[in-house]
Amino acid sequence: MELSLATRTVGEHTVLEVGGEVDVYTAPRLRERLLELIDAGARHVVVDLGRVDFLDSTGLGVLVGALKRLRTADGTFALVCDKEPLLKIFRITALDQVFPLHPSVEAATGTGK
């Protein structure tokens, strides 16, 4: 499935909903969109991976790049992911210790229970 990207605002957070496959071919589009958001002033970014059905090392590299960029700009970066196959990827790469991972957008933005 092709990559899909949609942005919405939840309070002070910019939520980027990602769907489809994030791989060596599509990851540059994700990188570009994240840079656009950060350049436009977004400082609290949440990437919702709920509709992602494939994520590889290139996609993970792009996410780490955004995390570092926001960190140096005094911003925050978090991921929403509740799919076990994707969570396993974060565990195996030790990136579960690098990213704040939340089960829902509400949890990531502090707007839920």
């Binding site: 590889d56 090392s57 590299g61 195996i92």
Partner: protein
């Protein structure tokens, strides 16, 4: 003897095709359904690595993927990059991953290797027998 061979020019757009073919052959070979996501990811990582090496060295040679289902399901992904570039992969720990000075390409390479090593129990990265290059060899059990 390989049952399916796929060779593709080293462009990112073809990696998805290699994943799809790899999983289709795995399913037909009898790899357990719950392992297919891992097969898909591992073949993708091995092909991504090969494409990155060919682009890094300006090589237009095709990347070769060879799938064989004699006994177990074995996949070889062969690149033609100089050997010293192909070996020497290392997994990164959380501190290294978060380090500001680590560039995205090196991070992706380290993460890609961590995924290969984490998802493929039977994994070998070694020089090819003929000419220049390395092969990533991955084997999964099959139910027959």
């Amino acid at each position: 003897m390989a049952t399916v061979r796929l060779s593709f020019s080293p462009a990112p757009v073809h990696v998805r095709t290699a994943r799809l073919v790899g999983v289709a052959v795995a399913r037909r070979a009898g790899v357990r359904e719950d392992l297919l996501d891992e097969v898909r990811l591992a073949i993708g990582e091995a092909c991504t690595r090969a494409v990155a090496l060919h682009r890094q060295y300006g090589l237009t040679d095709p990347v070769l993927v060879e799938m064989s289902d004699s006994g177990a399901y074995a996949v070889r992904v062969v690149d033609r990059a100089p050997i010293e570039a192909g070996i020497g992969l290392a997994a990164l720990d959380a501190d290294q991953l978060a380090n500001e000075s680590l560039n995205e390409d090196d991070l992706t390479t380290g993460v890609g290797f961590a995924l290969l090593a984490g998802f493929v129990e039977d994994l070998q990265v070694r020089p090819v027998d003929d000419g220049v290059g390395t092969e990533v060899r991955m084997v999964w059990p099959v139910d027959r």
